[in-house]
Symmetry: C2
Subunit: 418 residues, 2 copies
């Protein structure tokens, strides 16, 4: 017997038929004798519907009321799932964030989990009941409902798994695991059997949508094994072997020590949601970077990559950075308003870019990984506009038109093709 947390996203709960299908997965684990806690998102489309309703009433609105309104999506799906399980003769009940209590800080709309009372859940599981827990929601210090931000149900699931000391946290989604690259772009992409927390974290931050970044962070610090697997397989097609976790189902996100054959590069990701801002001929003197990024920080605009080059006159510098596409206009405005303080010759923005990244813990111990990336892109005539690196990833900014070409070429170059 093992203890298992199963998380189902909105696409797994689109209508009652899909909910019954998801209930089949739960029934399989329950009938195998496991203790099962389930975390659900809202039914597909419901969170958007509620968020739009609020926006129609007031574009700027009280985040506490917003949270109370959008949290109803999970309240409905949790109750529905409990009822559906009961029709199969399985004891089940729904749990709202405040009933647990799943305590968060007071940052409405993007709250962080502080702690979770586990006594009620432990009692429920011990009594042979499936606990259906509302994802995405908690209760703040003001005893009002909080939400964890978009994709927050992944984080709820990991936090519940940590509180319950679960053996595994299975994330059921519309793909059957984590791939070496987006299969829509690279038909030769392979599903990874295992991937380390660090790699998954980079991949999630870099555009792979399969898991919320914070959930991976929390799984890493809490040592929770996450498994990404498909909800659309027949429930009985795979019998879980939770203690072994090596059944070939999905992708296991785990400690790197648990990965026997480490790849140098585990995956290639891309992000199309960034935009580039370039300042030409900024005076090359101390305080310039602060002059540019100070106002952006004040305007709460997140900056991702930053590149600075000495200009050909030797006295000025060119500065390039990236922001989210949705914030490009505000970034240009902000920098424009500070032109006198900063002092630059020209300012331009472009959305015609893509960020392509290679990720792999093997990079740490292998030389020449970056060189191969740059050579591969050069061989295909692709110009690199900016570079950013960390210990286990290299990201490059390139012209959006070359995105697919670059990803496929890199996938082949690092020996990832099937």
């Amino acid at each position: 017997m093992a203890r298992l947390v199963m998380k189902f996203g909105g696409s797994s709960l689109g209508d009652i038929q899909r909910m019954r299908h998801a209930a089949g997965h739960i029934a399989r684990e329950y009938n195998a004798g496991h203790e099962v806690a389930v975390v659900v998102s809202a039914m597909a489309g419901e969170t958007d519907r509620l968020a739009n309703l609020v926006r129609e009433a007031a574009p700027l609105h009280d985040a506490r009321e917003y949270d109370s309104i959008v949290a109803t999506g999970e309240q409905v799906s949790a109750g529905m799932m409990a009822i559906i399980l009961q029709t199969s003769g399985i004891s089940a009940r729904s749990w709202l964030g405040w009933q647990l209590a799943l305590n968060t800080d007071g940052t409405h709309g993007a709250a962080r989990i502080v702690d979770i009372r586990d006594d009620l859940l432990n009692k429920s599981l011990a009594a042979g009941q499936v606990a259906i827990i509302c994802g995405f929601q908690g209760i703040g210090p003001d005893t009002r409902i909080t939400t964890l931000g978009r994709g927050g149900s992944d984080t709820s699931a990991v936090a519940i798994a940590a509180a319950l000391r679960a053996d595994c946290c299975d994330i059921y989604t519309d793909v059957d695991g984590v791939y070496t690259a987006d299969p829509r772009v690279v038909p030769e992409a392979r599903k990874l059997g295992r991937i380390s927390y660090e790699e998954m974290l980079e991949m999630a931050s870099l555009g792979a949508k399969v898991l919320q970044t914070r959930s991976v962070e929390m799984a890493m610090t809490q040592g929770i094994r996450l498994r990404v697997r498909s909800t659309f397989e027949e429930p009985d097609a795979f019998i879980s072997d939770i203690p072994a976790l090596d059944s070939g189902i999905g992708t296991l996100v785990c400690d790197e020590d648990e990965i026997v054959e480490q790849q140098i590069v585990s995956g290639i990701t891309y992000a199309r949601d960034e935009a580039k801002v370039t300042l030409l001929r900024v005076a090359d003197k101390p305080g310039v970077a602060a002059g540019v990024f100070g106002p952006l920080a004040q305007a709460a605009i997140n900056v991702d990559m930053i590149v600075q080059n000495i200009s050909d006159d030797g006295k000025s510098t060119d500065l390039t950075f990236t922001v989210a596409k949705s914030e490009l206009d505000r970034a240009i405005e902000t920098i424009g308003a500070a032109r006198d303080q900063i002092g630059y010759q020209d300012l331009s923005g472009s959305t015609d870019i893509v960020k392509v990244s290679i990720v792999g813990i093997g990079m740490r111990s292998h030389a020449g990984v970056a060189a191969k990336m740059f050579q591969t892109l050069a061989d295909h005539g692709i110009n690199i506009q900016a570079i950013a690196t960390s210990e286990i990833k290299i990201s490059v900014l390139i012209d959006a038109a070359y995105a697919e070409l670059a990803i496929r070429a890199l996938h082949a170059a690092y020996g990832l093709d099937v």
Copy 2:
């Protein structure tokens, strides 16, 4: 300055435009310096949508999960109303049943309010905040969400008014008050300025849909003055004079002592949702009534009117009773299954009936009220199939085809026409 509870039903909250209109009523009272607590139903259609979703999942379902699901309707509308008021610069916040706490018993789906903590609400009102309270919902002894049954928001409003010792509880609805009869049937019907609790209670029980019966009951025992008024008037058309409560707005439901000119008959109501069951030639011996109504009670079928006549042979009796139309089939089945124990010659059911009632506290002190009713119906050739009376009402069962004729004739006979 007065303290006021304002209740808005689903039709007043059909969409954001209607919610803004309702917010105008709230703003008027708030800006007049009153302390205002608002009780809201779910947006029109939302409770039905949620109830249907549950029914689609399982016709028979856990009432605790059902309550948690349908209670989201009010959670959304309360948050929306708070946000809409805030856009007008009015401080407002939503309150969920469990946040108050509005404690109920554990009868999920039809819970009764046990008590309401008033400290948080009093603090909120004292701080100049409009409290927007979810109607229809509470929290049970098991700390799970309960609901009060259909129309329960009226009861929530009265209970909140009692807990807050409010000066008045205004029920905003799609009619502008309580009428002497349904104006769709009787064009000459008049709006009543005042009506006693007892009369309103009879009228609500007898088919007038304007208020939930239990809310009137509670208003009577708690001495809460209820005012039924239209939500669709221009918010500024009527400035409330709460202490006087005699502005001609709506209908005030109050103690009979507060009604100066009492009518003998205050109103005529009708109900088309009953069905008639007749047992022919039941043995006329002790225990027969128990033999018939025992099995019905066990099947949880409510019986309304009961009439028993001696048959022409002197040894047997005919028994007629009414049940809700929706339960006719079950009632016939139940009586059919008990045929051997009861012993009757024939069993028949009919839905082709209507119950017409006259209501008035003046009946207590006036003779001949019933006689006038029977004579009026006879004059129009309308046969009476059953009669039931209480101290302040007389109900008759007649052929459904004569409903409008009977109501109009009685309205004129008792001098209620404009």
